[in-house]
């Protein structure tokens, strides 16, 4: 009986959340609130995005990831889906390939904090990105999450990871299909039974959903801000 009841930490930020905006102006103001200086860029990139109202329903897990979207980041709603699946999977050993500005890393770390702790390994070939990610995660006030930043090519790093050890991988580095096919084979060996691998930008120009489905996974088409978007999910059988 007690297994069904869980006292969990609260993921919500202290920043007061507005009611659902009702008018176009309110929605635009809400976008500025969420994306700060990037709101104008997003308006240019996605004409009518706010009219389509695809930007709503995101609840940021920490103030530092508000006003933080940059071109190349995972869309906030995509990140929200990913963290929902991480929490539902209950996996605690998480890897991210391609950390960029560390925005998704922060979301993943906060989800692990909510789960009661875990380890997040972020891998990126660019030392500036690794440093930025490390700095960002240090500012989250995490109490039970261990962050390990690795500056290395993912395909060189993966062979150093013990087989069957990773519970959850967010794959968001090089989106070229031949690279992802090689990467998927390597990740498969490192996933523990029941472990999940999630891939960004599987729909649209990258067309990675064919790779994911080849491995028995599923693909979700989500709102896009560029030529590609959505996520692919595959799970290693138990």
């Amino acid at each position: 009986m007690s297994e069904a009841v869980e006292a969990v930490g609260n993921l919500m930020s202290e920043v007061p959340l507005p009611r659902m905006p009702l008018t176009a102006d309110e929605r635009k103001a809400d976008a500025v609130r969420q994306f700060g200086p990037n709101a104008d860029w997003m308006l240019r990139m996605v004409p009518g995005a706010f009219e389509l109202e695809i930007l709503h329903g995101v609840v940021f897990p920490h103030p530092s990831v508000m006003h933080a979207y940059e071109s190349g980041c995972a869309e906030p709603w995509t990140t929200q889906v990913v963290t929902s699946l991480l929490i539902a999977s209950n996996e605690r050993n998480v890897m991210e390939t391609g950390c960029f500005t560390g925005q998704t890393s922060a979301w993943l770390a906060m989800a692990l904090e909510r789960l009661g702790g875990g380890t997040l390994t972020t891998v990126d070939i660019d030392p500036e990105r690794t440093a930025k990610c490390t700095e960002r995660l240090a500012g989250l006030g995490l109490t039970c999450v261990t962050h390990r930043a690795v500056t290395q090519d993912v395909l060189q790093f993966l062979p150093t990871v013990p087989d069957h050890s990773i519970g959850f991988v967010w794959v968001d580095d090089n989106h070229e299909k031949p690279h992802v096919e090689v990467e998927t084979r390597m990740i498969w060996e490192k996933l523990k039974p029941g472990g999940l691998a999630l891939f960004h930008d599987v729909w649209g120009s990258c067309d990675l959903q064919t790779v994911v489905k080849k491995w028995g996974g599923i693909a979700l088409d989500l709102p896009r801000l560029g030529a590609a978007g959505g996520i692919g999910i595959l799970q290693k059988p138990k």
């Binding site: 919500m12 930020s13 009611r19 109202e53 695809i54 709503h56 329903g57 929200q80 929902s84 599923i218």
Partner: protein, 211 residues
């Protein structure tokens, strides 16, 4: 850092291990309800654990957010928490598209609550079985949540799964609750067929046609 609504209270242990009511969840308000927290909190102050797990509502809300999801069906409304999550997610899209058909053989007054919450136009509720309702759903199904009571019908959810898969859109998803080891005898069969199994809470299995 965290001040979100802590819904629910501790269990009410009235006398040496006797539970006054069914056990209830202690949890954080799922994210989809944050935009109208004031309206939603009363519905989550006491949620018994017969309902699906709060993290399941979060997953369903996220799956319902995709604009390609237009037609959603649910087997087993119960007190409506999962339905609320999906309907609020549709509302947050801000467009009129997206509709949910939900069925339950028992009426817990969910329709009146949906009306109060301004979500009645998003939902068609059927007082009957899921199998009875499904022929009336006019389109291919993009998202299905199967959580029907299986008392006396241990393989009912498997039957419903097959019914839904035959009506599923190309990239549609089916989510089945209570897929953990000991929940019911069909759970292992669900897990064996599923694309994904998420063990937290009561356990979710997720299906997508392989095409």
């Amino acid at each position: 850092m965290t001040t979100g609504t802590q819904c629910g209270t501790q269990w009410t242990n009235v006398d040496a291990g006797q539970w006054e009511v069914e056990p209830i969840y202690t949890f954080s308000l799922p994210r989809v309800f944050e935009y109208r927290r004031h309206a939603w909190v009363p519905y989550f102050e006491r949620v018994d654990t017969t309902a699906s797990h709060p993290d399941t509502w979060d997953v369903l809300a996220e799956l319902a957010r995709a604009p390609t999801v237009q037609t959603i069906v649910e087997a087993g409304t119960y007190r409506g928490h999962a339905l609320f999550a999906m309907a609020e997610s549709l509302r947050l899209r801000g467009t009129p598209e997206g509709h949910i058909w939900s069925a339950d053989v028992e009426d817990f007054g969910v329709v009146a609550e949906l009306d109060k919450l301004g979500l009645a136009d998003r939902v068609s509720w059927c007082h009957g079985t899921f199998a009875d309702m499904l022929p009336h759903v006019p389109a291919e199904i993009d998202l299905a949540f199967i959580d029907a009571s299986q008392t006396g019908h241990p393989l009912l959810r498997l039957e419903y799964l097959d019914l839904v898969l035959s009506r599923l859109s190309k990239h549609g998803l089916v989510v089945c609750d209570d897929s953990t080891d000991d929940a019911w005898e069909g759970a292992a069969m669900l897990r064996a067929r599923a694309n994904l199994y998420l063990p937290r809470g009561h356990g979710l299995t997720i299906f997508q046609n392989r095409a």
